[in-house]
Amino acid sequence: MSVLTVENLVVRYGDTVAVDHISFRVDEGEIFGLLGPNGAGKSSTIKAIVGLVDFEGKIEVLGKPVGIETKNLIGYVPEEFMLLESLTPLEFFEFVASVRRIGNVEKVKTLIRAFGIERFVNKPIATLSMGTKQKVSVISALIHDPPLLILDEPLNGLDARSSRILKELMQRHVEKGGAVLFSTHIMEIAESLCDRIAVINKGRIIAEGTIEELKELASVEGSLEDIFLKLTGQYEGIKEIVDAIS
């Protein structure tokens, strides 16, 4: 069953078209990766789904058009922190959990322990390190057990242990029938985690499928990185640039 359906999505910022008629779907039990160079439109796609930017086109979560009803179905880790910096993590979780009407606070406590931020939960978020803020952001996305997890470059700033936890969580999440949509630049992560990948360039999906399908499509042997560079037309000239620099 489809957890997320995106059809003909267009996102504009003034005259800039950041996302240009993108369509894809993410099914139950699936980790779907959005892969693309900087400025490709990954974050804009994600922001449209979670309701941060206006869009044209159709977006449905579990068959419902996105809106206030779908907000409890999504857990979102943004690319830039969206935290209330003068609150402490604990106050922040309290706010999010209350608004999401979570009855059971044990989950929050478990997550706090799992990510090892017990020492920081009573300090203003503004004073926390980048990685700790990212952990706060991840925890706040998980506390309501959403069927759809949307993570925009979630491993940014996380230390080894926490990124391992997050990766395992993502896998556990889909095993239980959830779905994950996440964006990344890091090929190895996409390769090892994703069931399917969409390659985005200049606001359009230029290829979509499993790693094997993408390999066939690009007709290159080798890593996802090679496929990616080939597909986005960035393959040519790399050697020349490196030669010129060194």
Partner: protein
């Protein structure tokens, strides 16, 4: 080896970021470019305004010979500079300079850049008032221009010391705490708001200030022996050509103190960026889940109590109540309510931040929570007026105040509904136009019942019942609108 000019230029980038952050705490707006520019513009306007005001004061003071005029001038320089820029300075304490460490710069150069960034907060007012005052003093009396000039530099140094101390204090005091700690925190904000408020009141009460200066003059002159030791009196005496040994001694002592405080402030602000705190004890986390409306109320009161700018805004109607407490209740309510429209608007502006957009929040919840807060602020404000009325042996009109609470409720609900429907989620800085636009309906809702009551009063009838009826109808209308939303 970069030149000083180069370092100054680099500090400009950090300053740009600082200004942006001090005004917009989180960036989820649509057109960032425009916002960055408008942030810079409003900071520049603020600075020019202060620079102009201080310069006018400097010229005025330089051509007077009264000791008290100089006293006021020096004291004002210290307080205005410090409080006017407290917000930017508080943002400064969370400025990130990490990138500098990746550049080929020495530690010394980095601290220079950090300090320059800090100085940029004050640059125009400080430079302008210093030049204007110096020139004006030389024109008036070259002899006393030297101590006057030193007095000004000392005042500026104290201002910088004060602002660094205060913003550091705020930064560490925003940490949670119960009991005493939270009382102390509130005290901090009251002090802060009062001082900031003195700036606001200052523009209108300048004349009064100088007039009372004359009244205090005789007191100052008769106690000149002790006072001439003290800052800012020693400089004031010397500036107005009263040269006593005590004043010279005072000048020497306070100059040294100012130098030390400036030095300490400089090292403090460069030190902030290398400090870590590891010694935190682990406690079992406690969470309390409440209803969404209560969660919003809690969140907003926390945000307000931790942001000097917001805290000031919320205290504004209460301060206004203090000032107006000698007038009539209806006038006071009208003025307070005008500020309440601004408060409503700013409370709503808090939600411009992305986080509330991704949470399942019904507009009704949001509007109810904000409105409850606005009504609470209204009640506290009139409470202050009542208290002063009673202390002065007059009876406040509880009936008018209570009916007007209904109108305040209606005002808040309707202003917020319009803002939500038109998708205006801004703060005072980014959306002044929208504020003016929302002020109109808000103000009409407040004034309508009072106007009706006024007409009835002129006609000689009972005006209390029409007042209540009008407010009550507004209240009902607002409730209905809120529920069909």
């Amino acid at each position: 080896m970069p030149s000083l000019r180069e370092l100054w230029r680099i500090s400009g980038y950090f300053y740009g970021d600082l200004v942006f952050r001090s005004i917009y705490e989180i960036r989820t707006h649509k057109n960032l470019e425009k916002l960055v520019r408008s942030a810079k513009r409003s900071m520049l306007i603020n600075k020019m305004f202060l620079a102009l005001m201080l310069s006018v004061m400097a010229i005025y003071t330089a051509f007077r010979s009264n000791v008290m005029d100089f006293v006021i001038f020096y004291a004002m320089i210290t307080f205005l500079l410090a409080f006017f820029f407290l917000q930017a300075t508080t943002a400064f304490t969370s400025q990130n300079f990490d990138i500098l460490y990746t550049l080929p710069l020495s530690r010394d150069e980095i601290s220079k850049i950090v300090f320059m960034t800090f100085f940029r907060i004050f640059d125009i007012p400080i430079i302008m008032v210093t030049i204007v005052f110096l020139v004006a003093m030389i024109v008036r009396s070259p002899l006393s221009s030297a101590p006057a000039f030193i007095g000004l530099l000392v005042s500026e140094s104290f201002a910088i010391g004060l602002v660094v101390y205060l913003s550091r204090a705020f930064y560490s005091k925003i940490a949670t705490g119960s009991g005493w700690k939270s009382i102390i925190r509130i005290l901090y904000y009251v002090v802060w708001a009062f001082a900031f408020f003195s700036f606001y009141a200052f523009a209108s009460t300048m004349g009064w200030l100088y007039r009372s200066a004359e009244a205090y003059s005789s007191f100052v002159m008769s106690n000149s022996k002790i006072l001439s030791f003290l800052y800012p009196f020693c400089f004031a005496f010397l500036s107005s050509n009263i040269k006593t040994p005590n004043a010279f001694l005072g000048m020497a002592i306070w100059s040294i103190l100012a130098y030390l405080s400036l030095k300490r402030a400089t090292s403090k602000i460069t030190e902030i960026f290398t400090k870590f705190e590891w010694d935190v004890e682990v406690v079992e986390p406690k969470l309390k889940i409440s209803s969404p409306t209560v969660a919003f109320l809690k969140k907003d009161t926390r945000l307000i109590s931790r942001s000097p700018a917001l805290c000031f805004l919320v205290l504004l109607p209460i301060m206004e109540a203090l000032i107006l407490s000698h007038g009539s209740i209806p006038t006071a309510i009208v003025v307070i309510s005008a500020f309440l429209v601004m408060v409503t608007y700013s409370l709503h502006g808090l939600e411009k931040e992305g986080i509330t957009k991704i949470l399942p929040i019904k507009p009704k919840t949001l509007i109810t929570a904000k409105t409850l807060l606005v009504v609470a602020i209204y009640l506290i404000s009139v409470g202050v007026i009542d208290l002063i009325f009673i202390l002065r042996g007059k009876m406040p009109n509880f009936f008018i105040e209570a009916s007007m609470a209904l109108s305040v409720f209606a005002m808040s609900v309707i202003v917020l509904i319009i803002a939500e429907k038109m998708n205006i989620r801004r703060d005072l800085y980014s959306g002044l136009g929208a504020l003016v636009f929302l002020m109109i309906p808000g103000f009409i809702i407040i004034c309508l019942p009072l106007a009706i009551a006024f007409i009835f009063k002129i006609l000689g009838g009972n005006y209390l019942i029409p007042l209540f009826a009008a407010s009550f109808i507004e209240f009902l209308l607002a409730l209905i609108l809120l529920n069909v939303l």
